[in-house]
């Protein structure tokens, strides 16, 4: 069977010329595409993850098709999975693939996953749990600029066997505002539509963590509202509150609530908890580097 044809839910048209499988959080993702341009972009987006040879049958499959005869467009891309059928310019399809793969990777992860940005200094991880749209990715990028190593801009993932965080270093998707806030306007990232650009830790000049970590610090980000140019303040917080921050942002504790509860308590007991008030993410990341790095 031609990869990407016949076993996916939506319309997939054209021959796939690129066929690569990556492993994210223990799940294999086989991504096929027909365009050299899209293939290069996908390779860059997933460069931090190990490749899997042979495209195992258990892999989740995605297809990005360029030049869609079905729609008669010169450039019409589809990212097709069981739940996804996206047409549009390359960036839209790439963003859709990134979103779908991310959601599937988190959903299939056997351990506990908490919505958080994570950076590291040596083997010590610093997690900042937060929901979408609150500056988590921006702060992760600022952390890399400040000299931290990259773990994730999306999730604190805790291995169920070792009870230690493992890296999930997906590409950072930054809005124009975010790029400007962390002085990364000049990096040529991959366009994802609506002005959003994906960049890698390597492009920022940061190292990507590949080994399990120890969760040393849990930081509650409290960014200022737009226009509030207050300084930075890092203050200790009770560990019990940190447990609340982690649990509130958990993706999957409901699957094993009691085990997750005890695991999060263990993590909270071993870590130090902090509140970080800030206006400028770069200044705040530098403060974190000085105090916790």
């Amino acid at each position: 069977m031609t990869p990407g044809r016949g076993d996916t839910a939506g319309p997939v048209v054209g021959e796939s010329v690129h066929d690569v499988t990556w492993e994210l959080l223990g799940t294999a993702f086989r991504i096929t595409c027909t365009s050299n341009e899209v293939a290069a972009a996908i390779a860059q987006l997933f460069e931090a993850f190990p490749k899997v040879a042979g495209g195992p049958a258990s892999a989740k499959r995605y297809a990005v098709v360029d030049g869609c005869e079905r729609h008669g467009h010169d450039r019409c891309l589809h990212a097709t999975t069981g739940e996804l059928d996206v047409s549009g310019p390359p960036g839209v399809a790439l963003a859709a693939v990134l979103t779908a793969v991310n959601e599937a990777a988190i959903d299939a992860f056997a351990g506990l996953a908490v919505h958080a940005g994570v950076v590291a200094s040596g083997s010590s991880a610093i997690a900042f749990p937060a929901p979408s749209g609150t500056g988590k990715t921006t702060f992760a990028a600022a952390g890399l600029v400040a000299g931290f190593d990259y773990v994730s801009d999306e999730a604190l993932c805790v291995d169920p066997a070792t009870r230690r965080p493992v890296p999930y270093p997906r590409a950072l998707a930054l809005s124009p505002w975010s790029r400007h806030a962390v002085a990364l306007d000049d990096i040529a990232g991959i366009e994802l539509g609506d002005g959003e650009v994906a960049i890698t830790a390597d492009q920022i000049g940061a190292r990507t963590v590949t080994a399990p970590l120890d969760l040393a610090h849990i930081v509650h980000l409290q960014p200022a509202l737009d226009g509030d140019a207050r300084g930075c303040e890092l203050t200790p917080a009770p560990r019990g509150e940190a447990m609340t921050w982690l649990f509130q942002r958990s993706f999957n504790h409901y699957k094993h609530p009691t085990e997750s509860f005890h695991l999060l308590a263990t993590l909270a007991r071993k870590a130090q908890a902090w509140r970080l008030n800030y206006g400028d993410p770069l200044e705040a990341a530098a403060l974190l580097r000085d105090r916790l790095g």
């Binding site: 019990g240 609340t244 609530p257 308590a265």
Partner: protein, 94 residues
């Protein structure tokens, strides 16, 4: 409501608890909601074993804190009320 003579607690069956420093974290068995009690609320929780009345809990905490029962009674009663409302403690007379 003044249920000074009613026993406080015990915990609703299935509530899971663990200590994190001076706090106590509780996992509700049905909602999977987590509640983290501060040090004072944690002290109330520890005494809410179904044996003491509200007056008994207040008296014990007053001794522990070096306070008068009158000065802490309202806060203790409010804490017990919240724990009951959240389904963590059995209701009064329950």
């Amino acid at each position: 409501m003044d249920d000074a003579g009613a026993r406080v607690g015990p915990a609703v069956h299935g509530v899971v608890e663990t200590e994190v420093d001076e706090s106590i974290a509780l996992l509700h068995p049905d909602s999977s909601q987590v509640y983290v009690l501060n040090a004072t609320a944690a002290d109330v929780w520890r005494l809410s074993d179904g044996e003491l009345t509200l007056d008994g809990v207040v008296a014990a905490l007053a001794v522990a804190y070096g306070a008068t029962p009158e000065s802490i009674r309202a806060e203790v009663a409010a804490t017990v009320g919240r724990l009951r409302d959240d389904g963590l403690l059995m209701p009064a007379g329950g």
